[in-house]
Symmetry: C2
Subunit: 138 residues, 2 copies
């Protein structure tokens, strides 16, 4: 398989692991707990271009990730979105939102420059997230 | 079933029809071709709260609607999102985007006040949309 992660996703994110369909990325922005799922299929830009089987895998993986994030981070709301106006490679955002976060109730995209995690923050966050990605109980 | 559409969705949208799981709404904003799917299940705020079966119906219906919209309106990109920061009832946006639209490449939510369709525009749009919702070939 010659799937390659888009260079912007590679630059902006930290790779966390892989589910059956998707590569799981952490957006390197400490302002919002924010994971991105990228179906490992070539030349996809829209969910509806995936096969029916891949679509069903996608919603299973997306819901697994969303539920785990919501619990782990005590989200007020999850924001799930396939936008891709800037980066065409199909990718699905999973963002933990709080009524107290700096963008609430607006969507977060394009609002604030990312604030990269410090090494210490990243260590804690990665430990937490890798555990539920590697457990794969979806 | 005592499912009731949230009053804000009722006020802002025009009901187009029903699929197996979702009610289909047209956002009354002539600036963007914009459909909203609302799973007819009570007290849902997140996709991951739906049963596995309902999740699979949802992605099937969502992809059907997205593909039809993309074709019919010759979209440059579809934006698909479950946000719900303002209206808690689970609903999934399906927005046709163009590189020439007034918000591109930013997301559209919370950016511009809606511009309601004129009666004439609405007639044309509804005719077009109802046809593919009532055909239900998904």
């Amino acid at each position: 398989m010659s799937f390659k992660l888009h260079p912007i996703l590679k630059k902006d994110c930290i790779e966390l692991g892989q589910l059956e369909l998707c590569r799981v990325l952490l957006m390197n922005d400490s302002q919002f707990p924010w994971l991105i799922l990228v179906p490992e299929r070539e030349n996809m830009t829209e969910i509806h271009q995936l096969t029916t089987n891949d679509q069903q895998l996608l919603i299973r993986e997306s819901s697994y990730i969303a539920e785990k994030l919501a619990l782990q981070f005590q989200a007020d709301k999850m924001n799930i979105a396939a936008l891709g106006n800037m980066v065409p490679q199909l990718h699905i955002h999973h963002v933990v939102r709080y009524k107290t976060d700096k963008a609430w109730p607006a969507p977060i995209w394009g609002k604030f420059d990312a604030v990269a995690y410090t090494d210490k923050e990243l260590e804690v966050t990665l430990d937490m997230l890798k555990e539920f990605i590697n457990s794969r109980e979806y």
